[in-house]
């Protein structure tokens, strides 16, 4: 396999040879070779912890390498700091948006390189510069608004606009589409195609296999710190790619795992009647029954997260009723919901899901402990037992339970969030984007877990931007558009085409 990707070195934009990196206790990269051609989109794939981020950090000077060399346009280069990389025209947009949400778009775009006049910043020229940078991406937004007031998708595009320089030769996009909806993704791909026609080599890191085939010219796969192989996208069938990534043949994904007993139900465990909040979510009805998965479909910004948070009491409704086991809820707060057995796994793990400095054990215990109250502490032995159970049940990859959770990879962090909810023995589990930013293997595990929980009699709500996932797991699907519930479908009606049709408003 490995040789197929190697080409005449004259067209190589950047080449990494025999790059190795060891962290305390972990061999992160083992003699990895990576070659990027001028004017190609090169997908870099691998499961969580495969070494993608480490390789990229070495390329961009964020991490020193232990051995190996880097050649840019045929010449060996020394990249020891991120400034070195930038001077050489290697730009990066990291997965987590690395901008300052409390500053304006202009300030973010010109940070550390403000145009000056007599030694003072010229904001007029800065604004012009910012507009010009955005124009490259065909993005027309008010540059004087605070960045944080825009949706994540716009922030992502601003981050790309910031990374692009006139002399950019290599552009690294680390999961740029993780929080984009279909239209925005298409816009981004168009931009990527424009950029590669300028001779820029683009590294595209993603977990969405579909998108790889849409936009990538060649694909490289890393596994456990080793380069498994590189191949042109057109010559690498999907199944082979996935088996390269996970190192085992993927059991054929069942198109539709959900049982078709939908209407069996019985009394709803959690029911919303006309629940809503002005300017957040138009009043809606929804009912969750034990042993049933309700999917929540819709574009980014259609109100998926808001719906879940309203049901959880994290957003206080100003109209309607929420009933638990038929009784109306009087006080809305996460703490009250918890005591009713309703738990919520947020979409944004870093900001809302986990406490990064606390250990895996402490994070997992947080849910159960919050339910029991501060006076009835779970004893240490019990904590260790429960944590160990969860680590095994969800196959959380961590050396031990006392590791700060912030040091785990994305998929494992997601599992910790799930574990935290599960130890609290929920009756209703609200999952917001449970598979966001996690790899193929973990993705299948999470989907299987959702089915298993459902079979155990839990009522589940799954909000997701991945339609295939929703189709696979849901007994019923509620479709949202513009912060309004527009349709609820069940049984055989749940198909990808139907959902797309409804979202599009047909």
């Amino acid at each position: 396999m490995g040789e197929t990707g190697v080409t005449d070195s004259s067209t190589l934009r950047i080449e990494m040879r025999g790059v190795s990196k060891t962290f305390p206790g972990v061999r992160a990269l083992e003699k990895v070779d990576l070659q990027l051609k001028a004017g190609e989109v090169h997908a870099l794939l691998g499961e969580n912890g495969a070494g993608k981020s480490t390789l990229i950090k070495i390329m961009t000077g964020a991490l020193p390498r232990d051995e190996g060399e880097i050649r840019l346009d045929g010449h060996p280069v020394e990249i020891n700091t991120t400034a070195d990389a930038q001077a050489l025209g290697i730009s990066t947009v990291y997965q987590e948006v690395n901008l300052v949400p409390t500053l304006t778009v202009t300030k973010n775009l010109t940070l550390e390189r403000q145009p000056r006049r007599f030694g003072l910043i010229s904001w007029g020229r800065a604004r012009a510069l910012a507009k010009q940078r955005l124009k490259r991406l065909n993005l027309e937004i008010d540059t004087e608004r605070l960045l944080g007031s825009y949706p994540v998708a716009i922030q992502q595009l601003v981050a790309i606009a910031r990374a692009l320089e006139d002399d950019t030769r290599v552009l690294v996009l680390d999961e740029p589409t993780a929080s984009l909806d279909a239209n925005e993704t298409e816009l981004l791909f168009k931009i990527m195609r424009d950029l590669k026609s300028l001779g820029i080599a683009i590294v595209f890191i993603t977990h969405f296999i579909d998108q790889v085939y849409q936009v990538a010219d060649r694909i490289s796969v890393l596994r456990n710190g080793r380069m498994v192989g590189t191949a042109p996208a057109a010559e690498l069938p999907r199944l082979e790619l996935i088996s390269m990534m996970i190192g085992r043949e993927l059991a054929a994904v069942e198109a539709r795992l959900a049982t078709s007993k939908s209407e069996a139900g019985g009394e709803p465990v959690l029911a919303a009647v006309g629940l809503g909040r002005r300017r957040t979510m138009t009043p809606f009805d929804i009912a969750l029954r034990a042993g049933e998965v309700v999917g929540l479909a819709g574009l980014l910004g259609s109100g998926r997260t808001e719906t879940a948070k309203l049901l959880f009491g994290a957003i206080r409704p100003d109209s309607g009723q929420l009933k638990v086991d038929g009784k109306a809820v009087k006080r809305f707060s996460p703490g009250h919901s918890l005591r009713y057995g309703i738990l919520f796994c947020p979409e944004d793990r870093k900001a809302e899901g986990l406490v990064g400095e606390l250990t895996v054990r402490e994070n997992i215990m947080l849910g159960l402990q919050a339910k029991r109250g501060w006076m009835r502490r779970v004893w240490k032995d019990e904590q260790k037992r429960l944590t160990q159970e969860m680590i095994e049940a969800l196959a959380i990859a961590t050396p031990d339970a006392e590791k700060p959770v912030g040091q785990l990879s994305g998929g494992n962090q997601q599992k910790v969030v799930l574990a935290r909810s599960l130890v609290a023995k929920p009756k209703v589990l609200l999952l917001d984007e449970p598979t966001r930013g996690i790899d193929v293997g973990a993705h299948a595990e999470v989907v299987a877990l959702i089915r298993r929980l459902c079979a155990e009699g839990l009522a589940l709500l799954v909000a997701s931007s991945e339609l295939d996932e929703l189709v696979a797991v849901s007994d019923r699907v509620a479709v949202l558009r513009d912060r309004r519930k527009v349709e609820e479908m069940s049984g055989a009606d749940i198909t990808r085409e139907n959902i797309i049709h409804t979202i599009a408003g047909g």
């Binding site: 959880f312 994290a314 707060s333 996460p334 703490g335 919901s337 918890l338 738990l343 919520f344 947020p346 900001a351 809302e352 899901g353 986990l354 406490v355 990064g356 400095e357 606390l358 402490e362 215990m365 947080l366 849910g367 402990q369 919050a370 339910k371 029991r372 109250g373 501060w374 006076m375 009835r376 502490r377 779970v378 935290r420 609290a424």
Partner: protein, 332 residues
């Protein structure tokens, strides 16, 4: 070696040992402990004895800092507590009632801070600044209630708690030990510590996990107020007078310093009670050492600052690595 340099107690402990060794060299008999008039006597005992008020305040501060807050008002709380004690003694209350009143005043001050931070969402540094500025003024106004001419008092009970001793051991050490154990049990043997740390680490996540972040934030200031009230009783009874202008001046800074020397981060998320005590001991040992060394008092603050800076640099992994690299390069 890694395990040793990695443990958070190593460097503050090392700093304490170095200061003590220097003391042993410049002041013969530094470590001698005798029994005079039925109680322990000697410099090490003196250091412990003097460190208690700051150690108490620092314990409360450690809890507040663990929640990503800060309490600048502790010195002023001491002033208010002291003024209240003198006032109630003049008013003729039974002294054990005054003891309870003093603690209640501390709790009340903590509730005020907690209200501003948790309910009104004012940033902790600003919220506690309000009481920091006004507290000493409130103390002076309390003195005015009885004319303010002679705020000194006698109280066998309170002075016994402060300067007395039980057997050979100073009472304030025993009471400190009791409060330390009680606080440790509260933080580490209930889930309160975990909740405070999770709120300090990521308040939004803690809230969505079902923790009442507002109530937790409120409670840390109450804990700080209570610890500080106890320090206020000791400090006030020691000088048996109410002196709102200068009592416990800059104690908030010493307390924050003790927490930081103990490895606490102002970014919140972790509470180290034992390490905070160690930090308070480093500060007091240093202060006593400077006094004993015969350096002119003008040098005190500067020497203290330099030593503290050194201890903090020792604790920083980055700074240590930089020094070691430099050292290795010299050798090679």
């Amino acid at each position: 070696m890694r395990a040793l340099t990695g443990h958070r107690a190593t460097w503050p402990l090392l700093a304490l040992v170095v200061i003590l060794i220097v003391d042993g060299i410049i002041a013969p008999g530094f470590f001698a402990i005798r029994i005079v008039e039925g109680r322990l006597f000697g410099t090490p005992i003196d250091i412990l004895y003097r460190a208690m008020p700051i150690a108490l305040i620092a314990l409360g501060m450690a809890v507040v800092i663990g929640s990503k807050g800060i309490d600048l008002s502790v010195g002023s709380i001491v002033a208010v507590v002291g003024a209240t004690i003198a006032w109630r003694i003049k008013a003729g209350d039974p002294h054990f009632v005054i003891l309870l009143t003093a603690l209640a005043v501390g709790i009340l001050c903590g509730m005020w801070n907690g209200f501003l931070v948790a309910v009104l969402n004012i940033q902790p540094i600003i919220a506690t600044l309000i009481l920091m500025v006004s507290g000493r003024g409130i103390g002076l106004m309390i003195n005015l209630i009885y004319g303010g001419t002679d705020p000194s008092f006698e109280s066998p009970l309170l002075q016994g708690l402060s300067v007395g001793s039980i057997g050979y051991v100073p009472t304030r050490l025993i009471l400190f030990a009791g409060l330390f154990v009680a606080l440790w049990l509260l933080i580490r043997r209930t889930a309160l510590g975990l909740f405070i740390e999770s709120v300090g680490g990521n308040a939004a996540a803690a809230n969505l996990a079902g923790i009442n972040a507002r109530l937790i934030t409120f409670s840390v200031y109450v804990i700080s107020g209570l610890c500080t009230a106890w320090a206020g009783i000791i400090l006030t009874a020691d000088v048996h007078t109410s002196d709102p202008v200068s009592v416990a001046l800059f104690s908030e800074l010493d307390a924050i310093l003790a927490v930081v020397i103990g490895g606490g981060s102002l970014a919140g998320g972790r509470i180290y009670l034992g390490m905070t005590l160690l930090g308070a001991l480093v500060i007091q040992t240093l202060a006593t050492s400077i006094l004993m060394s015969g350096l002119p008092p003008e040098y005190n603050l500067l020497v203290k600052a330099v030593v503290v800076l050194f201890v903090l640099l020792l604790q920083s992994n980055n700074a240590r690595d930089a020094v070691f690299t430099l050292f290795r390069r010299r050798k090679g």
